[in-house]
Amino acid sequence: MELDDLYQEVLLDHYRHPRGAAPVSDRELVMEEVNPACGDHLRLAFELRDGHVVQVRHESRGCAISIASASIMAAFVEGRTPAEIRAAADGVIAMMRGESDLPADGPEDLAALAGVRQFPMRIKCATMCWHAMKAALDRQDA
């Protein structure tokens, strides 16, 4: 169990320079997710245009892992269809739970989160944004 496995360079880069990070106003807000156990907080916004998710923004407060994961997710989902995103979300969540390997066509830089699996207490930090994304898509469908 090495700290550098958890905090890989690529992960810290996403943490320092999160992709898609921007303030999300209440009007734009699509989904808000809070992990009361640790105080991580995510506000998510996007638009659906011609069946594609665009203009993805997230406002994240949390640890390095949660912010990096939201950044990796935001970069991936931009321009994709809800079906593609749901499949990717399931793949990431299964991987984080140790139920499957790194998905071959999954989000770029996802490998940077692979080390989190050795730290069970931190897995939720990495999956929260994907749960929020799925819930947001469900809400858009409804």
Binding site: Y7, E9, L11, L12, Y15, P36, C38, C63
Partner: protein, 426 residues
């Protein structure tokens, strides 16, 4: 006996004839290990303290020599177990400065003790429109039971705010008491986030003047300060054995006997009754009324040894030595670049919460763990206080009587390295 000194930084000082940090550390077997290749630095004492060998041995000795149920049988072992169990009640009476062992109830811990007061006393006495005063710095276990009591009775909650120094706003307390609607004032003696020691004697006085009872959460004070419930003048006081060097699964509720007499039991069953008919029962005397079923006998006996241990070191000496170490730690932490300590109350215990610029508390705790340093991160069961502080989570180092200045040095050095570490990629 050699001259005992406790080293804090460069200044040697003397607190009592028997204070000897090395010997004290030798009493705690768990401290004598390396974690991740480094000597363990245990700074999560506010969550639970470590146990001296004497306590561990007392638990074993109970099972090894006199295991039996208490208060039931006439045989030798039962008599011996009962004698030891009740001896601890007498020791706890002295430890907390209560008037009589009748005022000492063994519970599972602080949480159960406060729930007993909120459900057993407050629900019986509160009426719609009356008020329960709590504070913004309470642990969830001194807040949620009052929310439940309020919901059950129609009473309203009122909150005493926390000032920017991390102290209670006593003028706000007076405003909450002014209309005479308050029946309960529930307050923590020492904050498990800010370390602030609240003026509970003064608060109890004002509560009484307004016709309210005063309930004190002593989870973070009993292990560190001399406590006398009669000097405080509170009506109830709760603490946990496992935070004061005793086993888990046992705590103490002190209640003034007149108030315990008018408290309903939470649990019915064996031991708590006097006469049982098919349709109704009469209850045993206090405090047995509140100890239904077989109690955690081994833990109570272990707690007794923990109380002896604290008394043998001397509680004023403990408070003084921990106080010096706390000041040493605070000076170091406050001088650390990018670090902000929450709270600045002059009266405090060694519970220190802080944030480090650029490093989330969970990431910091993870980093410190790799250097064998155990700290805590999160909301620390104080979500309302986190909102007041404007942060989702904090880092916390909490001290105990076996901690050393060198360990504080290791903490701040490691924090410096953590800042560097998480700057990668910046």
């Amino acid at each position: 006996m050699s001259e005992p000194v406790c080293q804090c930084g460069d200044v040697p000082f003397r607190v009592g004839r028997t204070w000897n940090p090395e010997r004290i550390r030798g009493d705690f077997p768990v401290l004598n290990q390396t974690v991740r290749g480094r000597p363990l630095v245990y700074l999560d004492n506010a969550a639970t303290s470590q146990k001296p060998s004497a306590v561990i041995q007392a638990v074993c000795a109970y099972y090894g020599t006199c295991n039996a149920n208490v208060h039931r049988a006439f045989h030798y072992l039962a008599a011996e177990a009962t004698r030891r169990y009740e001896e601890v009640r007498r020791a706890a009476t002295t430890f907390l400065g209560a008037a009589s062992p009748r005022e000492i109830v063994f519970t599972r811990g602080t949480t159960e003790a406060i729930n007993l007061v909120a459900a057993g006393w407050a629900r019986r006495h509160l009426r719609p429109g009356e008020a329960i005063v709590v504070t913004e710095m309470e642990h969830h276990s001194n807040l949620v039971p009052w929310q439940l009591a309020a919901a059950a009775t129609g009473a309203r909650l009122r909150f005493v705010p926390v000032t920017s120094r991390g102290e209670l706003d006593l003028e706000a307390l007076d405003r909450h008491l002014a209309d005479g609607a308050a029946r309960v004032v529930a307050v923590t003696h020492a904050s498990n986030v800010l370390g602030t020691v609240n003026p509970v004697a003064e608060i109890a006085r004002r509560a009484h003047a307004a016709g309210a009872v005063c309930v004190v959460d002593g989870a973070q004070s009993a292990p560190h300060l001399p406590v006398s419930v009669q000097e405080i003048g509170c009506d109830f006081y709760a603490c946990s054995g496992h935070k004061m060097y005793g086993p888990t699964g046992v705590g103490i509720l002190y209640g003034r006997s007149a108030l315990l007499e008018e408290t309903d039991p939470l649990l019915g069953g064996g031991e708590m009754i006097e006469r049982v008919e098919l349709e109704y029962s009469t209850w045993a005397e206090i405090p047995h009324r509140f100890e239904a079923g077989t109690p955690n006998i081994s833990a109570v006996i272990g707690l007794g040894t923990a109380l002896d241990y604290l008394e043998s070191l001397g509680r004023p000496a403990i408070a003084e030595c921990e106080g010096r170490l706390t000041r040493y730690a605070l000076d170091l932490l406050r001088a650390t670049p990018g670090l902000r300590v929450f709270g600045d109350a002059p009266e405090r215990v060694g519970v220190i919460s802080f944030e480090v610029e650029g490093v989330h508390p969970h990431d910091l705790a993870q980093f410190l763990d790799t250097e064998g340093i155990a700290t805590r991160a999160g909301h620390l069961c104080c979500q309302p206080l986190m909102r007041r502080l404007g942060v989702p989570a904090v880092s916390r180092a909490s001290l105990a009587l076996y901690n050393l200045p060198e360990e504080m040095n290791r903490l701040v050095d490691a924090i410096g390295r953590a800042r560097e570490y998480f700057r990668r990629g910046a």
